[in-house]
């Protein structure tokens, strides 16, 4: 019962916030804008799934925003050049996976700290993006937006697909040996090795998967508007990491669930529109988000001290 305390308390905070909105600003729940708001979070959700897995393995990847931007621009240019979406999606995922593989090699086999490695690749990919794209927006051909469906159908499809991905990955992490390996490596890599797990391979593949998800997330984003902004990935890594941390993914590895990270994302993504609907000045947005993250980290600190004593 205590096991899901964190997930439940974040969900409780979310319910309170939604309840407040229901009383003060019921128009928040109008269907069409609500659907647009939720769909806008799909790319961040896809990234959060990946980043949660990376963090469970006791690593971090701050290059995902840059990977996302590069994949978005690559896919955007391919689509603008006439390639179809069913081909652009796997290519974007492959490009992301390749960037993830570089991170994974450097972290797993050279033993470099992931924060430093991914800081370096974050800056590198951001500069590559800037030099190649020069800030130009990419105009996508008609028919890419909403996967050629109607707006509402396209939004529903994106939401359904991302929730299916979340459910599948959450199940795999919890119930399959490959998923349990992430927790084992994140808790104690040496113990994991002695019990027959290959921590290096596990770490490597987690980064590769993260990169592939960055590519998928980028495509989930670009189908939502007729133009690609090459800066679309900027800051996304922080949003995904914040969602994971708030949702109870332990910063020092080995603990947390994807459903928790999902609830963390919902809470953080609700704060910003809530402030608009409650007519609170925009100055407060980042302060409040920071406070929520701080609360989560402090709660983690207290928990691990209690466990230690």
């Amino acid at each position: 019962m205590n096991r899901y305390f964190r997930e439940l308390s974040v969900a409780g905070a979310l319910v309170l916030l939604l309840g407040l909105l229901g009383v003060v600003a019921p128009q928040f729940f109008e269907l069409q804008p609500l659907l647009s708001r939720l769909t806008a979070q799909v790319p961040t959700l896809v990234l959060t799934i990946g980043i949660a897995m990376v963090m469970i393995t006791r690593q971090i990847d701050i290059s995902v925003g840059s990977q996302f931007g590069l994949c978005a621009v690559l896919a955007g240019n391919l689509l603008a050049g006439g390639l179809s979406l069913p081909l652009a999606l796997p290519l974007a995922a492959t490009a992301g996976a390749a960037m993830g593989a570089l991170n994974g090699c450097l972290v797993a086999w050279l033993g470099l700290p992931s924060i430093v490695v991914t800081l370096a690749t974050m800056v590198t990919w951001a500069e590559v993006l800037r030099l190649t794209q020069q800030g130009r927006f990419i105009n996508l051909p008609a028919g890419v937006q909403w996967l050629s469906l109607s707006q509402a159908a396209g939004q529903t499809a994106l939401l359904a697909a991302s929730l299916a991905l979340l459910a599948a990955m959450a199940w795999l992490l919890k119930n399959r040996s490959g998923g349990r390996h992430l927790y084992a490596v994140g808790s104690d890599a040496e113990a994991a090795r002695l019990s027959g797990i290959n921590p290096k391979a596990t770490t490597f593949w987690v980064f590769v998967f993260m990169g592939a998800l960055a590519g998928v997330a980028a495509v989930c984003n670009l189908v939502q508007s007729p133009q690609v902004d090459p800066k679309c990935g900027t800051g996304l890594e922080l949003k995904a990491i914040a969602a994971a941390v708030v949702g109870g993914i332990a910063v020092n590895g080995g603990r947390g669930s994807l459903w928790g990270a999902f609830v963390g994302l919902l809470l953080l993504a609700t704060i910003n529109p809530a402030l608009t609907f409650l007519h609170v000045e925009a100055y407060w947005e980042k302060a409040i988000q920071g406070l929520v993250i701080l609360l989560a980290v402090v709660a983690d600190g207290i928990r691990s001290r209690r466990n230690a004593s």
Binding site: P33, R130, S225, A282
Partner: protein, 347 residues
């Protein structure tokens, strides 16, 4: 003693070098020779001009850079181009410090944070480096001249008047800005609000939201604003990525035409929305000309052709431009483009 000797020797060598040069200059009388020779030597040395946008990844500043490079070709100076990848005031200070260490001749900087960068720029001035700002200013004591795309007043009032015209001078509107710390946008907002209070009593500014200079964030903020303020009649987007972002949100909400969209942006990024009648007006100056002018001003300041107190100055193909008493060099009046004229622009 050895120092003095060395100095004397160098002075002697110097006079040997400049003497023939002075003799070659026609029409110089003796008292002017020294100064002319020095000028000639100054012109012979290539100026190093350092040029910094707010953000290197923004297409607005990439167009600025194009204009700057055109001026570099004309003037034959060395250009150092650097800036934050995304808007980042701390990174700007870091780059200024690096340029001080390198000892550049002139810096041209588009400032993200007005006060935040003034310390570093003053330090540069103390080291003898000349400073001009462009696009958005620092505090006046930290630079010699500010190259302005238009006056903040001209932009603020232009935006407000256009919004009022689109709304029939009544109703609610909201602003999307880049960040709440962006100095130039805060100036514009001040004039927007002043104009609103003075001329349009039936209009109401309901909210101002930052979009972090990103289209997708502007789209999300606009979706929220439309939901939270059902009587909204107009979205005013005052940073370039926010204009298409706001337009996309209005389109998705099915409110095209009912909610007007206007803003400061690039024609190329808004063409489709203008033609579809989702965005009504986009206001802008010729961006490349701003970079071109900034570099010309930096060069003129570095070479001594432009000095404090000058009231006008000639900037290459732009001709003679006015300099106001605050040291602002104004590029000209902003331009409103719409459905009809957007195809005349290629940037």
């Amino acid at each position: 003693m050895p120092q003095t000797t060395a100095m004397k020797r160098s002075q002697f060598l110097h006079s040997l070098l400049v003497l023939p040069a002075a003799l070659l200059l026609p029409g110089c009388n003796k008292s002017e020779t020294g100064a002319s020779a020095e000028n000639a030597a100054g012109a012979g040395k290539k100026l190093t001009i350092a040029f910094m946008p707010k953000s290197k990844g923004n297409s607005y500043f990439i167009n600025c850079e194009k204009g700057a490079r055109e001026a570099v070709q004309e003037l034959g100076v060395d250009l150092l181009f650097d800036g934050p990848t995304n808007t980042d005031p701390a990174k700007q200070n870091e780059i200024v410090e690096n340029w001080i260490t390198l000892g550049v001749d002139v810096m041209a900087v588009a400032c993200e944070n007005k006060e935040g960068i003034s310390g570093a720029l003053k330090k540069a001035q103390e080291k003898g480096i000349k400073v001009v700002t462009f696009d958005s200013d620092t505090t006046p004591d930290a630079r010699s001249f500010f190259v302005s795309q238009a006056t903040a007043q001209g932009i603020g009032e232009g935006l407000m008047d256009e919004a009022a015209r689109l709304c029939g001078e009544e109703g609610e509107f909201a602003i999307i800005t880049a960040t709440l710390t962006a100095a130039n946008m805060n100036e514009w907002r001040k004039y927007i609000e002043a104009r609103l209070a003075e001329k349009y009593p039936k209009m109401k500014l309901v909210d101002t939201k930052p979009c972090d200079d990103q289209k997708d964030k502007a789209q999300q903020e606009t979706t929220n604003l439309l939901g939270a303020n059902p009587n909204l009649k107009c979205i005013m987007a005052i940073c370039s990525p926010a204009v298409p972002g706001a337009a996309e949100a209005v389109k998705q909400a099915g409110k095209a035409g009912a909610v007007k969209v206007l803003g400061l942006g690039l024609p190329s990024e808004n063409r489709a929305y203008l033609k579809d009648g989702i965005t009504q007006s986009v206001i802008l100056w010729k961006v490349a000309d701003l970079g071109y002018l900034a570099l010309h001003a930096a060069h003129a300041l570095g070479s001594g052709a432009l000095k404090a107190g000058d009231t006008s100055f000639k900037a290459g193909r732009l001709g003679e431009l006015q300099v106001d008493s605050d040291g602002a060099i104004i590029l000209g009046k902003p331009f409103v483009f719409n459905k009809e004229n957007v195809d005349q622009f290629d940037f």
